[in-house]
Symmetry: C2
Subunit: 304 residues, 2 copies
């Protein structure tokens, strides 16, 4: 069933302990859509400036499942750009610069042809913008949002309104702690459920993820790998793999505990491929067959 | 088959963010033996001073599977005592004081009647002492050692000799990194296998554990719980549950990947009960039925 993502397309400059990449394709919408495209069509709503390199448009086009009818190329505007440097253990990073560009302008519109989307992912942006997007998508059956510390600190009231309208929330553990004041991830998850969603996925980076759902709890380790090049986009590819798997699943209740749990294994594995390169290099050569093989390997690794 | 542990019995003073306990029963051998006793008999080799409180002897006696024939009570000596304070997130701790007492004396002897032990756990102490213990246990089929940063820094040559003689090593991630110089846990694990053992279990506290084995890799999250009182002894109860499960298993090859993986689920769950109280309070009321029920719940939580 139709999946839509609203997010950013950006130009990233990334430094990791083992290398760096300058002005490469990035952004939450980009990573999410590329990851989800392995499972079926995905509609991307985002804006770029007229400085957006044609080569990057070609990269987006490489992911054939991505429907770019919601991509606005704005004359006289600049594309969002971000630079970051990862800490030696790659568990944290510092932002070097942020050039908001089109992100400081009016959000992109959801095209009429996208209004019938059933699966909705609202990548991280101001919660009032997320809410505006959500309200245009009245045919939704499952809506999931991401958020970040900036909005928890500066727009909590808007975020709380949003949380009453989404089915799921995906966020990092630090952010869950900030949102709830609870250090324990299970306690933080339960607290967030009281704010509205049916489930919350607390991401812990290399330590995996915790699903706290109305109907139970699931714990998933990350895929153990030595091949770690650049964590940029792993949260978004994780969400993309998860939502792609949900949207392509025949489950009559995609928000059910068992559906989300299986989908999280796919998110974990798509992210484990993404971390193997800068930008979308690894995803460009990735196949669904490779994903399925690693999902099976992962399922065996975590069986007890 | 007969399981033996060589380790410490101590008197602990512990401060956590939610409370404290003064001069309570602790020590690696104590926690290990209590945990393993749910699976069958376990032989404890350790020494205490004549200051060791009779009430603590009663607590040890409460765990009926623990064979105390290897417990030396030394006249004129003092029992090992340790004080520690956990950080607010309970992932780290500072040592407040250490009174070595009997630990500064000759190590306890392995009784003749214990020499036929098949399963051996060498809890953390100087690797040359571990080696001395190991050499007395010539009937062993599976020997596993713990270690710590102190010995990696001060007795690495002895540790490397030990590693060529044990089947498995259990240690914290920080210690694995220190031992190998590798930040990536899979890389660190593979490096340790080159030092001799057939498998290594890298403990990550609340983030679970990674098994790197000659025959593959397994990742286990911790049991997600809100009931966190005191992490003291969790590493030792984890090892005790693991070794107890291995010693009581009918597997013809207890060191095989599948055997270790299943045993680690038991270690994870016994540790998850231990964290619910100070000292051995929770283990004193724990039943094997409760362990098995939570192991089943855990297996469902990590299934994808």
């Amino acid at each position: 069933m139709a999946l839509i993502v609203t997010g950013t397309i950006g130009i990233d400059t990334v430094y990791t302990p083992t290398g760096h990449a300058e002005r490469v394709l990035g952004g939450s919408g980009t990573y999410f859509a590329a990851a989800a495209s392995f499972y079926g069509p995905v509609r991307l709503v985002a804006a770029v400036g007229d400085d957006f390199p044609p080569a990057f448009m070609g990269t987006l086009g490489h992911f054939r499942g991505v429907d770019m009818a919601g991509l606005e190329v704005r004359r006289g505007s600049r594309t969002f750009a971000w630079g970051g440097k990862y800490h030696p253990d790659m568990n944290g990073r510092d932002t070097l610069f942020t050039e908001l560009g089109v992100l400081a302008e009016t959000p992109p519109k959801v095209p009429e042809t996208f209004r019938d989307s059933r699966f909705v992912f609202l990548a991280n942006t101001h919660p009032s913008v997320q809410l505006g997007m959500l309200e245009q998508l009245t045919a939704r059956t499952l809506a999931v949002a991401d958020t970040m510390d900036l909005w928890i600190n500066t727009a909590k009231a808007d975020l709380l309104v949003l949380l009453r309208k989404v089915d799921g929330l995906v966020l990092n553990f630090d952010e869950a702690e900030l949102l709830t004041g609870k250090r324990n991830p299970v306690s933080a998850g339960r607290h967030i459920l009281e704010m509205g969603p049916r489930f919350v996925v607390i991401k812990k980076g290399e330590h995996g993820a915790l699903l706290v759902h109305h109907d139970g709890i699931a714990a998933l380790p990350a895929y153990p790998t030595e091949n770690v090049v650049d964590p940029t986009g792993c949260g978004d590819t994780f969400a993309g793999g998860m939502m792609g798997a949900l949207a392509s699943s025949p489950s009559p209740d995609p928000g059910a505990m068992s559906s989300i749990r299986s989908a999280l294994a796919h998110g974990t594995i798509v992210a484990s491929f993404n971390i193997e390169s800068f930008s979308l290099e690894r995803l460009k050569t990735l196949t669904k067959r490779e994903i399925d093989a690693r999902v099976a390997e992962y399922a065996a690794m975590i069986r007890v």
